[in-house]
């Protein structure tokens, strides 16, 4: 038993099943040598020709040179498209394709400039003109030493030259030349079994040495054990030329040979040729490389040699123009992209009625519905037969089950069964008869006595199967995506629910914590108050006392207070600590106020005005708190308002300092001090607000700036006020007082911007939108209540200072209350005394807002027993708002009475 290599060397041939012997008709075109065509006007270059991904490297109107790459790409199977001649890109648009459907594809239209100028060829060792002469006339010029080139360089040159299989399938050659497995045998396909076509025959006769040079490159790349050049025995001249060239070549002796195979159609099919040469059958669905075999067309070898040796891209190929309707049949070097109609015109094509223009051979080619289509890399023949050569197909007759087709089939299929199922559109059954292994050679149609166009049926069936598979794949994909979407929505919903649950729990927890803290803070405040009263009106301990009281209440409150006073931005002001700090600040303010009032003694008007202002401010703040906007947006506003309050207080204190007599100096200074401290406290609360806003991390872009500015301004105001207070304490009366006023004014100026930009907005929107507020967070409601309590306390104090019990004036009430409800509540409040007013307000607030702080604030002032009621009342921002409005209205009234 001989080994395969021995049999290859011996030239043993195997038989393939089926096959036919159609008339060859090759003498029509194989007599003359390959001719050149003149330059035509227009060339059409479909983009991309091979490989899907590519981007254009040129634009419309651009001048290109011959051989210039028109596309860029990076994919493994990417092949560039090159300009076949020099000229201008006049359009890039869909044009009919060289396809049986002639469907339009994106095509670059190149208008020739007639100069045919080469671009600089990369890696060429001869200049462009020389290269051109080499390629066109076949003059054997000096070559690049192939041995000096690396494997990668050769492969990249082959790819960059855009070389695709020129036998018809146009598969990228560089992929075939870099196989994953070991290649033992390279078969050069010079069979050209299809009738009429003589392109490879002429090429082998005229460029045998160049083809062998290409074979040497392949030998270097793949290092196969054997190289077989297979040529049908109806081309003895070509076989002889190739044999002679082989003898002249540098290939190792004994590795390469020319094998003549018997003429039979379709011996030139890749799988059939392998079977003839080696006796091995390429399994269904496999590629020859899996058997260690690679098959290359002679035209491809020629192109590879041009590309590697001269760097010349694949821009032209040999095309057989044949048929009895052309007067100059023969083989031509046709630039790729030349329009079929141009070639035919040059060859004196005389169109007949119902003329067919067949692209490819008579067996496997397809009729072009449109002649203005380009020649592609795989187009080897334009066949324009006269009607007596290839006429209309006779009408299809029923299948008689003769079985001729099965005999003729080179792939050992059962064409009649395939036809049966294809016709019945039972594509799955057709598939089960291995329809995909049909090479569409047309043998079955050729032998069919019933003239059934069997291959047409198979093509339809194949297209339908491909379409179905595509649909199925898409449906599968859609299903996966749909399910993924459902899962995603479900996940999002769960996440939302979990978040809501978490938030609710947090709220609950903070509420419980707050209550306790608030009670403790309230107790602390009561104690502080007492201490303050004991110390007398003049003591500057008020703020300290508040702080100390808070520390008694809860250490957290202290830390919050301290941090706030220090204006540490990194203060982790929790929701629990935040209201407390505010409360403490409010109390401090209240005390400072009282001290100031006592110090003032007689000069009531300024104080009255001040307290009225304060009350108004407080109310505004309270309203701002009830603002229906998101809490994050509220905070900056609140901060600004508080800053404004601080400013007002500092101013007032300064005014007091100015107007007071020199003997009251000792008492005045602390008053100022207290007022300033109050301002500081306010600022502290601002800071805490800001921190809160920061911690919430939901600050709107507009909101982000305001709290910052407010904080800075507040800090500045605070610092100045402090300085002023110190100055007032240490120095004389007039100068420090003026100083204080100056400072306070400066502080005012600083704060004015913020107060106006943010505060007024907030107050206004709060006033107008107050009714719509339903979505407040508990913290806000609490703050509102606290502020309300403070306002009440102030109103009360003002009333006490006045020491008058006067009836409430309803008309004025109506004037100042912004809403109907406010007015009603104020009207229903018949209490003559301000103390009563505050008490009722206390009840209102504590009832509705569940803020012990507020109630306790009230307790600190007048020890109202209603504090108990505060505990279980529902948190209702609306009610809180109402209470606030009431408090505000009362404060206003009180102020008016004073006036």
């Amino acid at each position: 038993m001989l080994t395969l290599l021995e049999q290859l060397d011996k030239g043993t041939l195997w038989k393939i099943p089926g096959g036919i012997h159609p008339p060859e008709m090759k003498s029509l075109s194989n007599a003359s040598s390959i001719a050149r065509l003149p330059l035509f006007d227009e060339y059409l270059l479909p983009l991309p020709q091979v490989g899907e991904q590519a981007s254009l490297a040129v634009s419309v109107g651009e001048q290109v040179l011959k051989g210039q790459s028109l596309t860029r790409g990076a994919g493994h199977s990417y092949l560039p498209v090159h300009a076949p001649t020099s000229g201008t890109v006049i359009a890039i648009e869909p044009r009919p394709s060289n396809h049986a459907s002639a469907l339009p594809v994106l095509t670059l239209v190149l208008k020739s400039d007639g100069k045919d100028d080469w671009c600089t060829l990369e890696g060429a060792n001869s200049d462009g003109a020389n290269t051109k002469s080499v390629s066109s006339e076949g003059v054997n010029a000096e070559k690049v030493d192939i041995a000096s080139l690396s494997r990668e360089l050769i492969l990249s040159r082959i790819q960059q030259a855009g070389i695709a299989g020129m036998g018809g399938a146009a598969f990228p050659s560089h992929i075939k030349l870099s196989p994953a497995s070991e290649i033992e045998l390279v078969i050069v396909n010079g069979v050209e079994c299809e009738p009429y076509i003589t392109a490879d025959d002429r090429l082998m006769r005229e460029h045998a040495d160049d083809i062998i040079a290409g074979l040497e490159i392949i030998h270097k790349l793949l290092a196969p054990k054997r190289l077989i050049i297979a040529i049908e025995d109806n081309k003895p001249a070509a076989a002889e030329a190739m044999g002679a060239a082989l003898n002249r070549s540098h290939l190792p002796a004994g590795t390469a040979r020319v094998t003549q195979i018997p003429t039979k159609y379709p011996s030139g099919g890749e799988k059939q040729l392998i079977q003839i040469i080696t006796g091995k059958e390429v399994p269904s669905g496999a590629i020859p490389a899996q058997l260690g075999i690679v098959v290359h067309n002679v035209g491809t070898l020629f192109a590879i040699r041009d590309a590697v040796v001269f760097g010349k891209p694949l821009i032209e190929r040999v095309v057989t123009v044949t048929g009895n309707t052309v007067s100059k049949p023969g083989n031509y070097w046709v630039p790729i992209g030349t329009r079929v109609t141009d070639v035919l015109t040059y060859c004196d094509f005389q169109s007949e009625p119902s003329q067919k223009i067949i692209m490819g051979g008579p067996m496997m080619g397809y009729a072009l519905p449109e002649s203005k289509v380009p020649i592609l890399k795989g187009s080897n023949c334009i066949l324009v037969p006269a009607s007596d050569e290839i006429g209309e197909m006779p009408a299809e007759k029923p299948c008689i089950r003769c079985g001729e087709c099965a005999v003729a089939c080179p792939a050992s299929l059962l064409p009649q069964q395939l036809f049966w199922h294809a016709k019945a559109e039972e594509y799955d059954k057709a598939e089960s008869y291995n329809l995909k292994d049909c090479i569409e050679c047309g043998c079955c149609s050729y032998v069919c006595p019933s003239d059934i166009p069997l291959v047409e049926y198979y093509r339809v069936a194949k297209a339908a199967i491909r379409h179905d598979a595509e649909e199925k794949r898409k449906a599968e994909r859609a299903k996966v995506r749909f399910e993924a979407r459902i899962a995603r929505l479900e996940e999002e919903k769960n996440a939302r629910e979990a978040k809501a649950r978490e938030a609710a729990e947090k709220r609950k927890a903070s509420m419980v914590g707050n209550e306790k803290d608030a009670i403790a803070a309230a107790l602390a405040r009561v104690q502080a108050k007492k201490a303050a009263k004991d110390d007398g009106a003049v003591s500057g301990v008020a703020a300290d006392g508040a702080g100390a009281g808070a520390s008694v209440g809860l250490s957290a409150a202290v830390s919050a207070g301290v941090n706030n006073t220090a204006a540490t931005p990194a203060d982790a002001a929790t929701t629990a600590a935040d209201p407390k700090a505010g409360v403490a600040a409010a109390i401090a303010r209240a005390k400072a106020k009282k001290a100031a009032a006592q110090a003032e003694a007689g000069e009531s008007s300024a104080q009255d005005q001040a307290s009225t202002d304060m009350a108004a401010e407080r109310s505004t703040e309270a309203r701002a708190d009830v603002n229906p906007e998101p809490s994050a947006a509220q905070d900056p506003k609140k901060a600004a308002i508080a800053a404004a309050v601080a400013r007002a207080k500092a101013k007032k204190a300064a005014a007091q300092g100015l107007s007071s007599a020199s003997d009251a100096q000792t008492s005045d200074a602390p008053a100022i001090d207290q007022a300033i401290e109050t301002g500081a406290e306010d600022s502290a609360s601002n800071n805490s607000d800001e921190n809160n806003a920061n911690a919430a991390a939901t600050v709107t872009p507009e909101g982000k700036e305001d709290p910052k500015k407010a904080a800075i301004a507040a800090a500045v105001a605070r610092a100045k006020a402090k300085k002023a207070a110190k100055a007032a304490q240490n120095d004389g009366v007039d100068a420090p007082a003026a100083d204080t006023q100056d400072n306070a004014d400066a502080a005012e100026k600083n704060v004015t911007d913020i107060a106006e930009s943010a505060g007024t907005d907030g107050a206004e929107s709060a006033g107008t939108d107050a009714k719509a507020s339903e979505t407040l967070t508990p913290a806000d409601a609490k703050k509102a209540a606290v502020a309300a309590a403070v306002a009440k306390a102030k109103a009360k104090k003002a009333a006490q200072a006045q020491a008058q019990a006067s009836n409430l004036q309803q008309a004025e009430d109506n004037e100042h209350s912004s809403s109907q409800r406010d007015a009603q509540l104020a009207q229903s409040d018949n209490a003559a005394e301000a103390a009563d007013v505050s008490e009722i307000a206390d009840i209102d607030v504590s009832n509705v807002s569940n803020v012990p702080d507020a109630a306790d604030g009230a307790v600190a002032e007048n020890a109202a027993p209603q504090a108990d009621q505060a505990q279980d009342a529902e948190q209702d921002s609306k009610k809180a708002r109402i209470a606030t409005a009431v408090a505000k209205a009362k404060a206003k009234k009180a102020a008016r009475e004073q006036e």
Partner: protein
């Protein structure tokens, strides 16, 4: 008498043994869900368009198994209906939809008109629309099932359903038996 007793005991034992085997098999080889619904679902085109009146292809497949009509799937066309009818062993019925509804389409967003409302994104059953709030949206044509569901919610009507055009890959030899020739004027060169 004893013979009868033996027979009764023997048969009783046999019944117990087989009962145990059957009980074990019922647990061990339990089939989850309805395999027929899976088969029907595999035939449906998975456009998830809801034109059948069910929210997606799976519910319709289950409804068909439950006895619903087989002709409610316009995207699937006659072929799908016939396959389902064959599977279910029922008579094929004419489709409830017009032929126009059966043309395969792909949504296309006129991008300069899109206001970025994300409504179409929410409507798309296969997440084939990309975009974000106040930013332009676009359809991933590859993944679009042509279900039409995004057209209705669009407040500015900037979504078109474009019939899928054939390219060289999807070209069907039979469909274009008469080749289409592009008529165009000769351009002056």
């Amino acid at each position: 008498m004893s013979g009868i007793m033996i027979a009764v005991i023997l048969l009783g034992l046999l019944a117990l043994v087989f009962g145990a085997i059957l009980g074990f098999a019922a647990v061990k080889f339990k089939v989850e869900g309805n395999p027929l619904a899976d088969q029907v679902e595999a035939l449906l085109p998975q456009t998830q368009c809801g034109q059948c009146g069910y929210p997606g292809c799976r519910p319709y497949a289950e409804a068909i198994v439950g006895g619903d009509k087989v002709n409610k799937c316009p995207p699937g066309g006659v072929a799908t209906m016939e396959k389902i009818a064959e599977l279910m062993g029922v008579e094929p019925e004419p489709l409830s939809a017009t032929t126009e509804q059966q043309v395969k389409k792909v949504a296309y967003i006129r991008e300069d008109e899109c206001i970025g409302c994300t409504k179409c994104i929410q409507a798309c059953p296969v997440d084939a629309i990309v975009g974000a709030g106040k930013l332009m949206h676009t359809v991933i044509a590859q993944d679009c099932t042509g279900c039409d569901l995004c057209v209705e919610p669009c407040p500015v009507d900037c979504i078109d359903m474009i019939p899928v055009t054939q390219d060289l890959r999807s070209w069907n030899w039979k469909l274009s038996a008469i080749p289409v020739t592009q008529l165009e004027e000769e351009k002056p060169c």
